[in-house]
Subunit: 202 residues, 2 copies
């Protein structure tokens, strides 16, 4: 059976960076947004749409009242995208040793005994990290105040928690669901941390 590392991570904690480094050190395949591209190929839906659907729990529709009550009929590919995502994650895990970031992979692959890591940090560290990471999609330059950016970070993490809980029935980030929980708040050497974590696994 292949060795699988799943990495759940709070937005702003540097979990993705840690995951990449662990993949680099272990020589394992690395999957993150690659999964979205693969779903796009298989479904002919746009990556942007898939990204949205694959990372958010479905919104329960309510009837709209405008004098009369009516329901808008919008095609919903959410279930298809989720099914594809699950299939792809299982296929990737069967293909080779790998590191999979997010997407409830720890739960989807629970029968394959993955090494489950959760990466987190305190609010101040998340804010600092987002400010420093100028390539970050969520922080449009310096146009957001600290308060606004903190709120945005919190929203993204709430959304991740909602998604995880909706599809797994488990609490996101609850330490009993992971083999290792890593707080990066004080970490100033991700390579050192990644080496140490890798040495637990391989």
């Amino acid at each position: 059976m292949n060795r699988i590392i799943t990495i759940g991570r709070e937005f702003g904690s540097g979990g993705r960076e840690l995951a990449r480094l662990i993949a680099e050190i272990t020589g394992y395949a690395y999957y993150d947004r690659e999964i979205i591209s693969e779903i796009a190929k298989r479904t002919s839906l746009s990556e942007k749409y898939i990204q949205n659907v694959a990372e958010h729990k479905p919104v329960i529709p309510f009837p709209i009242h405008t004098g009369r009550t009516f329901w808008a009929v919008i095609p919903d590919y959410g279930q298809d995208v989720q099914k594809e995502q699950h299939s792809i994650i299982r296929e990737l895990a069967e293909k080779s040793d790998c590191v999979i970031v997010g997407r409830g992979a720890d739960y989807i692959l629970r029968d394959s005994n993955p090494y489950r890591i959760f990466v987190y940090s305190d609010d101040e560290a998340k804010l600092k990290r987002c400010r420093e990471n100028s390539s970050n999609d969520y922080d449009k330059g310096t146009e957001l105040t600290d308060k606004e950016l903190s709120r945005r970070i919190e929203q993204i993490n709430t959304s991740r928690a909602d998604y995880y809980e909706f599809y797994t029935g488990q609490e996101w980030g609850m330490k009993s669901n992971y083999d290792l929980c890593v707080n990066t708040s004080k970490c100033n050497d991700f390579m050192k941390l990644a080496r140490a974590v890798s040495s637990i696994i391989i």
Copy 2:
């Protein structure tokens, strides 16, 4: 400033073993029950009494009703023991690099920037570990059924949580209070784990 590692641990998770190995690998001083002996020296109270007082939150006395209401007057050294424990932990941290097990040391030494580890495992792993560890005080041979032993393990951990929360105002084992949370449920090589954890710190 000395480097300090604090290790909180669920009873039955192997936290003490991990702590000992980390101290061995890093060459740091190791403090666990040594703290109790030191309090005994300073207070001339028995180690058994100190162990009880130093690891449990105080019991709030209620009046006893036997026709008339009365209060038993029992000398309470709980506060003294706690004060001594805090002083000793601070002294030890000032003396040299060290590993301190339990006793809310992560909180007591919060201004000294300790590396805070929490060690835990699932109930089944805790039970197995307690059964295998025949020298364990809490498992009197095989006289306890699995159910009884599990209940005993849970009681000890509840007592640790109560103690921690009483003296720190923080939730015991909540991952945001630690730098690293290690689940030992699947671990079959504590030395490897200890080496990896040590390499994060030193």
